[in-house]
Subunit: 338 residues, 2 copies
């Protein structure tokens, strides 16, 4: 069972999850796990028994196109006891609590080699529909799902060794400090301006144009002004919607098209590239927040985070987002939407 | 010239430094730089002319054992104009300021293949002496050196492609939000307890023993309770000293021995491993802070930061620090000190 530990020096929680753990002497580099081969892939059809009990499947009958299962090595799990932090020392320096929460895997396709850039719009919409369904199911249990983060790791540099297309959902019983700080910033902006900061940021990017890749009726796609990473790309809805759980069906279909076009464009510019993406949403139970907007951040992992970033949390980006956006705009983004 | 950009959504500054930049179409993975070969290494003796003007050398005459030079591709530079942030849009969403600051390289040894685990105690003390000298020189210019971070990247996974032993110093004109938040936490602790949080953390770790690797008269070496990464190791002074600039000569020599022993021990457990280390200090001009303690954090880069970490800043650590510390204690830490 995992646990959450409080770093008293930063006020941040850390998850200690040793279930997938190598033993201490197995961290030697030679023992690093390679990529899981197709022959033993636990996410391929026919090996459904290798994954824990199914939480969602689409379609309900017959061969599945999307499946959601609990992560076999969960960072947080629903079985853990709900409990206040306890200290393991008399002075109270070492606070820990059980790792209660959820950690799920969304298997995006039965096809081991499927990629977002080449899947059909309907197939991608089915994946996004699974995100929304799980989001909606979990936000009803706000005690162990305060923050629901949906993310995808693709490529070894992005932290995965399973190449079968999949994304993950983690629901945490706490809202981490950084996210609290983001909400405080957005709330302050609302208080001052009576407008959503994120909507204003999107408007400003679309007006200034230099970092925009393309836009559709419902979405803007751009490299943000203060991009932390080369080719960092945000997809933002034009309709003010705090939570991904409240995206409409027609928006899901349009988002599928936009997501595919974005990955086509990035792949044209970069070739195959490792990346994470993250769907940010208002915390569960706070979906009515006027000051927050769900959005999807794509983080290509082309450079490594080094000591300066780890020690200061200031990112050094070696590419100007204006230059990379102009480069991608030169590669026919309109055609990518087709 | 680099620039600092404010991310309005997080309140965090990002450095856009394109001088070392590949052009947009050069981020394709095949073009990634490999390791610099010894034959063309700019840090080897005889190639001093390849680096910009020397800022420090030890000894002053004859062949050098340590050199400090400006980074050839600086993230921040002293030549930049000191200026208030300006907006590049009428609404004020896009705030930027010149990248004023310092970015230096500490060449740790004339020997291309030297390593901390095998260098002499005196040679390591000379490196630490260079850190302190540059720290002292720069803290006199607090306008463009509010925060001075000294760090080392070793290995490709840790963000370097230059294998000649070197560390870096970056002095920033701003104190980033995360560091401000750490100081606020420590100040609150001081206000409540009239004691230094970091001194208390060290005392608690040394008393509880389970995460301690070893201690000497002046230093404690341990895996912190809320370790973010497997084998994360902190070296902390027992004497309350807010700034690395105020370390005494006898402490430098002891620290050299402790640092070497720590790397010997980690290498015994892990084999060759990529890592960052970071020397944390109170901000320049605030060295009298009673609530802060300089310390050195070693961050082995054995696992990749994935989407969850990037999106929530909650770290998932797959190793319990108690287990890794017990493993390292079984490898004769006392002998490593010899």
């Amino acid at each position: 069972m995992s646990e959450l530990r409080l770093d008293l020096a930063t006020g941040e929680w850390v998850i200690i999850a040793t279930e997938r753990a190598r033993r201490p002497h197995d961290f030697r580099r030679a023992d690093a796990a390679g990529e899981t081969p197709r022959e033993t892939c636990p996410f391929c059809p026919g090996r459904e028994a290798m994954t824990p009990g199914e939480l969602y499947r689409e379609p309900a009958d017959g061969p599945w196109s999307v499946r959601v299962v609990p992560n076999k090595f969960p960072a947080l799990s629903p079985g853990a006891e709900e409990a206040a932090p306890v200290s393991s020392d008399p002075v109270g320096m070492f606070l820990r609590r059980p790792g209660k929460g959820h950690h799920e895997v969304i298997v995006e396709s039965p096809d081991h080699g499927a990629r977002l850039a080449t899947m059909s719009r309907e197939a991608i919409a089915a994946v996004l529909g699974a995100y929304r369904a799980r989001y909606r199911a979990l936000r009803r249990t706000p005690n162990d799902a305060r923050l629901i983060i949906i993310f995808k790791n693709c490529g070894e540099e992005a932290g995965t060794s399973l190449s079968h297309p999949h994304s993950q959902l983690v629901a945490t019983p706490i809202v981490p400090l950084w996210i609290q700080s983001k909400h405080a910033v957005a709330r302050r902006y609302w208080d001052m301006n009576r407008r959503c900061l994120y909507c204003d940021l999107l408007d400003a990017e679309l007006a200034q144009k230099e970092r925009v890749l393309f836009e559709t009726e419902g979405f803007g796609v751009f490299h943000p002004f203060a991009s932390r990473l080369p080719f960092e790309t945000w997809i933002m809805p034009k309709r003010h919607t705090p939570s991904f759980g409240d995206v409409r069906d027609d928006e899901l279909l349009e988002l599928a098209q936009v997501l595919r076009a974005t990955f086509r464009l990035l792949a044209r510019g970069l070739g195959p590239f490792p990346y994470n993406y993250v769907v940010h949403s208002a915390p569960a139970g706070e979906e009515d927040r006027r000051f927050y907007l769900w959005h999807l951040e794509i983080l290509p992992r082309l450079t490594m985070l080094a000591g300066f970033e780890m020690g200061s949390r200031i990112f050094i980006n070696t590419a100007a987002p204006e230059a990379t956006a102009a480069f991608l705009r030169s590669l026919a983004p309109e055609a990518a939407l087709e």
